[in-house]
C-alpha cells in the first residue's frame, strides 16, 4: 500500500468549497487525491466526467481513446476545442485537464480497449467510468470490471434519452428471509406489500448483464451517428456519472447501485427503475470475443446479395456515361442538410420495401446513405425482393463530399 499523499497548501485553497462540506472535509479530499479513476472514452460522456473529476481533485485519472478530434464532435464533446481538431483525443484531453487542475496525474492509453489489454488497464484503477459509444466495448468494460472487482459507473445516451447506473458495487437487492420456502400466496402478498426485495447497503450490486443480458443485433437499434443526439444530453448523463464516481470514492450517500436512472430530455423527466440481480445470468469467468458476442463479424465473411462501389469508381463510371437510378435512404432531416443533386428518390431505409414498386428492375440502382451502413441494409432488403442490379455506395454522401464534390457540406 503506497503512503497516502497529503494535500498541499495550494490544494487546500483550491478545494476550499469541498473542504467546508462536512461530508467531504480534509479527509474526503485526501481520499480523492489518493483515488484513481479510468474513463473509457473521451467523447460526449467522457467530457464532463473527466473535467469534473479533474476539477474535483481525483489524483490519478486514466484516459483511454484511440480517436482524433473531429469538427462534428464539438457539438457535445466540450472537453475538446476547435484548436485541437485533428489531435488525438487523449492528448487534447490531457492538455485541457491539466489546465483545469495541474495537481493531478493523467495516464494516457492511446489504444482501443480490447479483451487483450482490458484487465491490465482496469486493474490499475479504483473506479471505472463507462463513457463508450458501442455495445461490444460496454460488455467488455462490464466483464473486465467484474473480473477485477471494480465499480463500473455506467451512462448511455440516444437522441433525447439517457440511462445511468452503478454496476458491480456494494448496494443491491436481496430476497427477504424465508423467501425460498414461501408459498406462492405468501410471495404474492409480500410483493403487494413491497416486501419481496430488501435493499442492502452491503450486498454486492448487479452489473450490466443483469440489466441487459444480451446486446441487440447490429442494425436493429440505430446509433447516434444515424439517429442523432442532443448535445447537452451526454452533459447531463456524464455529470451524473461523475457525481456517482465521487460518492463511491468518498463512501457517502446512496449510489445508483441496484437502480437504473432513465432521463428524458424532451419531457424533462427522470425515472428510476429497480435493477435486481438476474437469477438466469451466467457467471462471468473470462473475457470473450465481444465483436462476435454482439453479432459483428469481419466484413470478408459476409456474403452480400448486392454489389459495393466506392465513391471514386461511381464518379468515374458516371463520367463515362453510367446512369444508375439513385436512391437516398436517409431521413428527411439529413436530406435537408445535404443531398446529391442527381438523386431520383428518397425513402428512409427502414421503409424502403414500401417503395420497391417505384424502382426499375432493368436498370442499375445506386443506393446511398450517410456513410454506407444503412444503404447496405436497404440493398439487402431490396435484394430479398428480387432486385439484382443493386450498388451500395461505400462511404455514402460523406465520402462523396470528401472525395468527389468537396463543395458539399459534411455532417
Amino acid at each position: 500500500m503506497p503512503e497516502e499523499k497529503q494535500l498541499s497548501s495550494e490544494e487546500v485553497a483550491r478545494y476550499s468549497r469541498h473542504l467546508i462540506l462536512d461530508e467531504v472535509g480534509i479527509g474526503g479530499q485526501t481520499k480523492l487525491k489518493n483515488a484513481s479513476v479510468l474513463c473509457v472514452g473521451t467523447g460526449g460522456l467522457g467530457s464532463p466526467v473527466l473535467m469534473y473529476l479533474a476539477a474535483a481533485g481525483v489524483g490519478r485519472i486514466g484516459i483511454i481513446d484511440f480517436d482524433v478530434v473531429d469538427e462534428s464532435n464539438l457539438q457535445r464533446q466540450v472537453l475538446h476545442g476547435t484548436s485541437t481538431i485533428g489531435v488525438p483525443k487523449v492528448q487534447s484531453a490531457k492538455a485541457r485537464l491539466l489546465d483545469i487542475n495541474p495537481h493531478i496525474d493523467i495516464v494516457l492509453f492511446e489504444e482501443p480497449l480490447s479483451a487483450e489489454n482490458a484487465i491490465r488497464i482496469v486493474e490499475q484503477f479504483d473506479v471505472v467510468v463507462d463513457g463508450t459509444d458501442n455495445f461490444p466495448t460496454r460488455y467488455l468494460v462490464n466483464d473486465a470490471c467484474v473480473l477485477c472487482n471494480k465499480p463500473n459507473v455506467y451512462g448511455s445516451i440516444f437522441k433525447f434519452e439517457g440511462q445511468a447506473s452503478v454496476f458491480n458495487h456494494v448496494g443491491g437487492w436481496v430476497r427477504p428471509e424465508g423467501w425460498d420456502t414461501a408459498t406462492a400466496e405468501e410471495r404474492k402478498a409480500a410483493r403487494k406489500n413491497k416486501k419481496d426485495w430488501i435493499y442492502s447497503q452491503t450486498q454486492p450490486g448487479p452489473n450490466y448483464r443483469d440489466l441487459y443480458p444480451e446486446p441487440p443485433p447490429p442494425g436493429l437499434v440505430p446509433s447516434c451517428a444515424e439517429g442523432g443526439v442532443l448535445g447537452i444530453l451526454p452533459g447531463v448523463i456524464g455529470c451524473i456519472q461523475a457525481n456517482e464516481c465521487i460518492k463511491i470514492i468518498l463512501g457517502i450517500g446512496r449510489t445508483l447501485s441496484g437502480r437504473m436512472l432513465a432521463y428524458d430530455a424532451l419531457n424533462m423527466q427522470f425515472r428510476e427503475f429497480k435493477l435486481r440481480p438476474d437469477p438466469d445470468a451466467k457467471p462471468i469467468t473470462a473475457l470473450i470475443d465481444y465483436q462476435q458476442f454482439c453479432g459483428i463479424f469481419p466484413e470478408e465473411e459476409k456474403v452480400d446479395s448486392f454489389d459495393r462501389i466506392s465513391v471514386q469508381e461511381a464518379s468515374l463510371r458516371m463520367k463515362e456515361g453510367w446512369e444508375p437510378f439513385v436512391l437516398d435512404v436517409r431521413g428527411a432531416t439529413e436530406a435537408e442538410i445535404v443531398s446529391l443533386d442527381f438523386v431520383d428518390l428518397r425513402q428512409p431505409h427502414t421503409q424502403v420495401t414500401e417503395i420497391a414498386a417505384k424502382l426499375p428492375k432493368n436498370r442499375d440502382i445506386l443506393v446511398h446513405c450517410k456513410m454506407g451502413g444503412r444503404s447496405a441494409k436497404a440493398c439487402a432488403a431490396l435484394a430479398d425482393l428480387g432486385y439484382t442490379r443493386l450498388y451500395n455506395l461505400e462511404g455514402g454522401i460523406v465520402g462523396w463530399a470528401k472525395e468527389i464534390d468537396t463543395q458539399l457540406p459534411t455532417y
Binding site: 467523447g43 460526449g44 460522456l45 463508450t132 459509444d133 458501442n134 455495445f135 460496454r138 448511455s156 445516451i157 440516444f158 437522441k159 433525447f160 434519452e161 440511462q163 410483493r191 426485495w197 440489466l211 441487459y212 443480458p213 444480451e214 446486446p215 441487440p216 436493429l220 437499434v221 440505430p222 446509433s223 447516434c224 451517428a225 444515424e226 439517429g227 443526439v229 437504473m260 432513465a262 419531457n267 425515472r271 428510476e272 427503475f273 429497480k274 435493477l275 435486481r276 438476474d278 427502414t350 446513405c369 450517410k370 456513410m371 454506407g372 451502413g373 444503412r374 447496405a376 455514402g396
Partner: protein, 93 residues
C-alpha cells in the same frame, strides 16, 4: 386502462407517439394490444420465436417484469408500462 411508454427509437413505429393507451389484465395482453395497433413494432419487440427480445426491458411501474411473472404479470387499471431498450451511444453507419 394501461399506459405504455414508448422509447424514442421505437416511436418511428407508433406514429411518433410517446404514450399509447391500451387495455389488458396482464402484461402480455397489453403488449399484444399495442402490437395489434402498431404491427411494425412486433419485429422490434419480439424475436423469431415470439419471445421478448433480451435487450428490451419491460417495467410495470419501476419493476422489471423479468423479476415478476414476466408476460403473466397482472396489471391493475392505471398501471404504467415502460419499454426500455438497451442503448449504446454514438458509433455507427
Amino acid at each position: 386502462m394501461i399506459t405504455i411508454r414508448i422509447p424514442t427509437p421505437l416511436r418511428a413505429y407508433t406514429e411518433g407517439k410517446a404514450k399509447v393507451n391500451v387495455s389488458g389484465a396482464k402484461v402480455q395482453e397489453a403488449l399484444d394490444a399495442l402490437m395489434a395497433t402498431y404491427p411494425q413494432l412486433s419485429k422490434h419487440l419480439l424475436n423469431s420465436e415470439g419471445q421478448l427480445r433480451s435487450f428490451i426491458n419491460i417495467y410495470v411501474g419501476d419493476e422489471d417484469i423479468r423479476f415478476l411473472d414476466k408476460g403473466e404479470t397482472e396489471l391493475l387499471d392505471g398501471d404504467e408500462l415502460s419499454i426500455i431498450p438497451s442503448i449504446a451511444g454514438g458509433q455507427g453507419a
